[in-house]
Amino acid sequence: MKRVAWIYHPDYLLHSPPFEHPESPERLVAITDHLGKAGLIDRMVVVTPEYPEDTDILSVHDRDYLNRLETACRRGDLTLDSEDTYLNRHSFNVALLSAGGAISGAKAVAEGTADRAFCAIRPPGHHAGPDVGMGFCLLNNAAVAARYLQARHGVGKVLIVDWDVHHGNGTQNIFLEDPSVFYFSIHEHPTFLYPGTGRRWEIGKGKGEGTTLNAPMAPGAGDAEYRTTFEQTLEPAVERFRPEVILVSAGFDAHRDDPLADLMVTEEGFRFMTRHVVALANKFCGGKVVSILEGGYEPSSLTSCIEIHVRELLEE
């Protein structure tokens, strides 16, 4: 059995919506209940996340944006820029602690206190850009973790595998011209789903051309299409890129029961993807995988998929 770090903090529940909203604290309550009852948390390396250093956040986000976010929370604003992305007075701190959670997972893996990590954090991050929050996301947790590994642990090349059903436009933009971070996203086709980016010819710019890879899925696609894409598109790209760590932007909203999208992935699809990423990590980067929670809004499939995901990370 592998040592898998479990990153969670009760303060993650403090960021709660002022109106009905799918990205709610109940998601994490359901996950912790479910994994606890399954006896999985007892078998993980429990790591308490810490608040990040300013420099670690500023490696991704602009100071002006952080100030704007903090002011909006303090002022009592209910949303940031659009109705999608709500705030309460805790949101700024919780967003920092969420990014801190991704860092803690990366740290545990980099320092060897764990082989892998699962970061049960929120708010999610992959839509957030350097100077903008959107799509339920305030700070880009995965991007912060990638930059942290590079800055503090001498990691050169990082692969981010984003299987949230929505395209991670924030993550893509942050690393668009950066050849040291490979961003792969599999998601529902942008013609049908938010945010409307992630077309197959978006492959990076300048020096980063070739280290962005998008696999848009037609509505109705499921396990078989995902398997083919991982084997035939992701795998050859990883062989060429040779990452030193793999981060997963792990959303579970491509599940067929999820209300926010039109894909048909099942528990078995998430088992396959986790197993495949673990195999790639074993082959290229000493097994180092840091999985970071993004979306997933239907409690039953969210928890059953995460149970499978964690079991596969444990290789029990």
Binding site: E20, H21, P22, S82, E83, D84, H127, M134, G135, F136, H166, N169, T191, F192, L193, Y194, P195, G196, T197, A218, P219, G220, P259, L260, D262, M264
Partner: protein, 220 residues
Amino acid sequence: MFVARRMKKKIVTAAPSASLFEAQRQMREHTIRQIPVVSEDGTLVGIVSDRDIRAAVLPTDMVPGFTIGEAEKFMKNTPVERVMTRKVVTATLSDTLEDAIVLLHDFRVNALPVVDAAGKVAGIITRTDVLEAFIDALGVGEISSRLEVVVPDMPGTLAQLTAIISSFHVNITSVLSTRHVDIGKRSNFFRVATLNVGPIRKAIEEAGFEILDPSKFLLP
């Protein structure tokens, strides 16, 4: 919207006496495929395309003795007025974008020089400009989700739908309403600036409308 809003105003033109060689060089430099030919006072007299030039110059090696050097000499010595199209399909400054789209389609041309009342060239509008306008109109590239609703073809349905969307405090970034394959129905496409379309879909269905499930019309 008028053509004048979407046309390119800074354009490359050629004098009737300019050589094919010079015209081709300009096309390559500016990555364009046609150049309006104008007289000294700016009056449009023709248009020359990369195709016109290709058609005018024999392929080298096809004719004995016609080498690349010979072809170049021919192009340098031949003025564009010898190969240009004289009956030019044009748009005027007061034409609408719809006029331009129909002209480009019906006359099967790639570009329309835009002329003012005096017949002088004021700009050019190409198929690319029209595609750009279409991309904008569809809301492609705006952070948004898509909804497709089939409604009975009768007054008031669009208003009902926008009222439902508005009740969720969500901006509509693009609306398109087209004929549906079934007679008596219309398809309405919306792009809405939210990730959370589920509740909107549900409310639209509860109001008695049909939401198209994209997975159903895509798979064979």
